[in-house]
């Protein structure tokens, strides 16, 4: 009688043939029946180029397929794989094991996000706040109608906001922000950086509208210059600077 193959045989691939290995500690938590987070440890072989995401996928493939993790692009583009790696919010697909200089790697779900299971967290709040600041060009005319030109922009005008348009909505900044930790209504660094991205766009006419939205008792003024958002952003967005530039408009230093 044919035997059911084990997961490892079924997948047809073997673990990395490396002599080096690390201990990967994965936070396990299912809010439906666990009262607290616990950790499972796995010995995972790795190469110089192995990323933390690949190590987690190795664990899923060969040791425990029930580990919950969200990922898609594996190239720091989709913003799905944010997690706390050795204490710091990072993208798992953009963090190499070799760069962490540690034999033990601990992965936990992002802070300031509700946990779905293990490493997967809910993004509703981030999407809501992102949506709230109207992340699109606001103006009466459109370049889609016939016989109109596209909206031109000089390199200098592009320079004003291009850095902020690199945001992939990974949520690492919101995870690092100390205000996000206690203020459940705070709009957060991700949405504020995007508010700046559109306000500073020369094609946009929605500045007053957007500034009004973030000028709220849980809006832009609840940022206290910790700067941790900019420290952890994997795309160089620098939300902390965007927030200060937005404050410049609101305090009358910029127009």
């Amino acid at each position: 009688m044919a035997q059911t193959p084990s997961l490892a045989e079924e997948s047809g691939s073997t673990p990395f043939s490396s002599s080096q290995s690390i201990t990967l500690r994965i936070a396990r938590y299912n809010p439906q029946h666990d009262s607290a987070k616990s950790f499972m440890e796995f010995q995972v072989p790795y190469e110089k180029w192995t990323t933390v995401l690949e190590a987690i996928l190795e664990v899923k493939k060969h040791f425990d397929h029930s580990v919950a993790v969200r990922y898609s692009c594996r190239q720091a583009t989709c913003g799905s794989c944010g997690m706390i790696i050795n204490g710091k919010p990072r993208l798992a697909c953009f963090t190499k094991i070799s760069e962490l200089n540690s034999n033990v790697i601990t992965v936990e779900p992002m802070n300031n996000f509700p946990i779905i299971r293990d490493l997967a967290v809910k993004f509703e709040r981030l999407f809501d706040t992102h949506h709230k600041i109207k992340p699109y060009l606001i103006r009466d005319d459109t370049e889609i109608t016939t016989n109109t030109k596209e909206f031109l922009q000089s390199p200098e005008e592009l320079e004003q906001y291009i850095q902020f348009s690199n945001c992939i909505k990974c949520g690492l900044c919101n995870s690092a922000c100390p205000t996000m930790a206690t203020d459940s209504s705070f709009v957060g660094p991700q949405a504020l950086a995007q508010a700046y991205r559109y306000v500073a766009d020369s094609r946009d006419k929605g500045k007053d509208n957007r500034l009004k939205i973030i000028d709220d008792s849980h809006g832009i003024w609840r940022c206290h210059f910790a700067g941790s958002c900019s420290q952890v952003c994997p795309k160089g967005v620098d939300p902390a600077m965007g927030i200060q530039l937005l404050r410049g408009y609101m305090l009358g230093f910029r127009s």
Binding site: T182, D183, S184, D215, S217, H218, W221, M250, L251
Partner: protein
């Protein structure tokens, strides 16, 4: 009130307080620290109206700044409609009470009620 107006007041009161507290400290350097706190000396200072007026202004500036700061801390600590209303009104009431109490002291000294 718009949050940006409140925060402009918050930063403005802080800056003004830095200037006036500097004057306050310089005035206190005109005599020894212990001497400065003696009963007669305190009464004399309060009776010197320009100086008492400045102390009153510092009291108002720092009460506004301090209680607004407290409001901010409390709003970030916990959220909820009723709670946030209570915090905002509570801070305004406490601010007015503190200013009233300090002003009362200055008035009492100057009307000879001491």
């Amino acid at each position: 009130m718009r949050e940006s107006i409140i925060m402009k007041i918050h930063y403005g009161t802080a800056l003004a307080a830095v200037a006036l507290v500097a004057v306050h400290i310089l005035m206190r350097l005109t005599q020894g620290f212990a001497e400065s706190l003696e009963y007669d000396s305190v009464i004399t200072n309060y009776k010197f109206l320009p100086y008492a007026g400045m102390l009153e202004i510092i009291l108002i500036l720092l009460s506004i700044h301090g209680f607004n700061g407290l409001r901010v801390i409390l709003l970030e600590l916990k959220q909820g409609k009723t709670y946030e209303k209570a915090v905002s009104y509570g801070c305004v009431v406490a601010m007015i009470a503190l200013i009233g109490y300090g002003t009362r002291t200055i008035i009492m000294v100057n009307t000879g009620m001491t």
